[in-house]
């Protein structure tokens, strides 16, 4: 019992071992949230992924891991020094984590938690100006360092010029834009290529060279558990210096049981010379221990792909700090 008490109070061991070196880690993809703001079909989907008996009380589990405090606990388990929390406005698919709610979670530990704001687009024809103003207010009020968009979850095409004002604003304000790419297992997702294939982003990427676009999930096809449009991500990042990559979720135990998918993706990134524009993220917390487990799997994938310690350090923390202008 004494051992348990000591273990609970002990300072986490920061970083991760990589070929004999201790490397600092930042997780750039984390989702805080409120269970009651998630649509029922998605609640059922998430519950099916919780281990038993947590699946009997999913709202209780969500309350314990989806807050800023809960997420810090999950980061501690993996020795992860900092994390990025995403706001989301996707009421018909994954639900809502408002800018205000996420902004308040950042205050739990502003030294370790950073945030990406998001923007409502479901009434864009009439509310564009208001929503852009709300976005700017959120950035100014809570110190968000970028913008999170998910065309597939928010139901707007990647090549629809009506939404380019978001990318323009991001460029003016120096806010990198994180994009969900690839299909998604969540009920209600728009799975067609125009919503999931980053090739449809090319026009916007070319039009807004001052805007950084981070292609999340590397275009992974989460429905068929295939690399999906990884080639398109690599191609865009090779041709456009304002395109960055983020390999979250595709290497999870359910999507990539034997680790070959993530190792293959990390290998493709390295071969294309894009290690310097790749940022680690997990897509946690999902369930207790996921963030720490995904880090282990990513480290294993980088080792398989032949990353040196210097390269691994870039992916795990240095690129994040360089892009977002934050330093520990």
């Amino acid at each position: 019992m004494l051992w348990i008490l000591i273990a609970c109070q002990a300072e986490p061991e920061w970083g991760v071992d990589y070929t004999g070196e201790r490397l600092p880690v930042v997780d750039m993809h984390l989702h805080p949230g409120q269970w009651e703001l998630i649509p029922p079909a998605t609640q059922a989907f998430l519950t099916s992924r919780f281990p038993f008996p947590f699946s009997l009380n999913p709202e209780g589990l969500a309350a314990s891991v989806l807050t800023g405090e809960g997420i810090l606990g999950e980061l501690d388990k993996g020795g992860i020094e900092a994390g990025m929390l995403f706001a989301v406005y996707a009421p018909r698919t994954v639900g809502i984590a408002s800018n205000e709610y996420v902004g308040e979670q950042l205050l739990v530990d502003p030294q370790r938690l950073y945030g990406l704001a998001s923007v409502r687009v479901d009434q864009w024809e009439t509310d564009e100006e208001t929503e852009l103003a709300n976005l700017e207010d959120a950035v100014d009020s809570y110190g968000f360092v970028g913008i999170k968009l998910a065309h597939a979850h928010q139901h707007f095409r990647m090549d629809d010029p009506h939404y380019y004002s978001i990318y323009a604003l991001a460029g003016q304000r120096g806010l990198p834009v994180y994009l969900h790419t690839g299909t998604s297992p969540f009920p209600g997702t728009a799975q067609e290529p125009a919503y999931t294939d980053p090739a449809y982003m090319e026009e916007a990427i070319a039009l807004y060279p001052d805007t950084i676009f981070i292609l999340g999930h590397l275009g992974f096809d989460f429905i068929n558990k295939q690399p999906g449009t990884l080639d398109h991500c690599i191609d865009l990042a090779t041709r456009y210096p304002n395109v960055w990559l983020e390999p979250s979720a595709l290497g999870s135990r359910s999507s990539d049981p034997d680790g070959t998918v993530l190792a293959g993706a990390m290998s493709a990134i390295r071969e294309a010379g894009l290690v310097g524009r790749t940022i680690y993220g997990s897509d946690g917390p999902q369930s207790p221990g996921f963030a720490a487990g995904y880090l282990e799997r990513t480290v294993a994938a980088m080792q398989t792909a032949g990353y040196s310690a210097t390269e691994a350090k870039m992916v795990l923390s240095e690129n994040f700090y360089a892009l977002f202008g934050k330093h520990p």
Partner: protein, 205 residues
């Protein structure tokens, strides 16, 4: 609670004394003997009462819950199949209902089959329980159409929950004992199951 009381009312004068710990952990009570056991831990809590009938049959009533979210109550019978100095093997079959509360409520008739094995030591009683619980459920889907009408469909469904418990009992006195056990319950609606643990207390007369 009514089931528990009903089981106790069937009690008669004991024919032969046997450790209540063995009766509960190995299954089967001698004729006329009553045993009541309580188990508490994570994620399960349960109360079982059993009474020995003639012909080697045992009447059983059981309340079992996981986190007080999934509750099972029912009654049935058990019988020892093999009995010796080294081990006891018994089988139990119960019928009842399962009710789940929370954001995904469900209710349906349920059956439980349980196999119990134990070494009937005078003081220490190592035991293994293997069981399967099958609950019949219905899924109703209401589709609301754009023309204002709605369509209701119902499909039958079943939830199967196999489980195993490995533990050790300590018969402090013939009429009272305790046990500790590790529980593993597989739920077909979840991807992974986390093992549980319980402490038990059993009394008999």
């Amino acid at each position: 609670m009514m089931l528990l009381l009903a089981t106790m009312l069937f009690a008669a004068v004991p024919e032969a004394a046997e450790s209540s710990t063995v009766a509960l952990l190995a299954g089967g009570s001698p004729k006329g003997q009553i045993a009541i056991g309580v188990r508490g831990g994570y994620p399960s809590f349960g109360v079982q009462a059993q009474v020995g009938f003639t012909g080697g049959w045992t009447g059983i009533s059981l309340f079992d819950t996981q986190l007080f979210r999934r509750n099972w109550v029912g009654m049935g019978v058990g019988k020892r199949w093999l009995e010796g100095r080294v081990g006891v093997l018994s089988g139990e079959a119960l019928l009842g209902v399962e009710e789940q509360s929370g954001i995904f409520p469900s209710f349906g008739p349920s059956g439980l089959i349980r196999l119990k094995m134990a070494h009937p030591g005078r003081i220490l009683v190592p035991y293994l329980e293997l069981s399967t619980r099958v609950t019949l459920l219905g899924q109703t889907t209401v589709t609301e159409k754009l023309d204002g009408t709605s369509e209701r469909t119902w499909v039958a469904d079943a939830r199967c929950v196999p489980s195993a418990t490995l533990g050790l009992g300590w018969a402090i006195r013939p009429w009272i004992g305790i046990d500790v056990g590790f529980d593993w319950m597989y739920d077909t609606t979840a991807t992974v199951s986390i093992p549980g643990i319980h402490l038990g207390l059993g009394v008999g007369w």
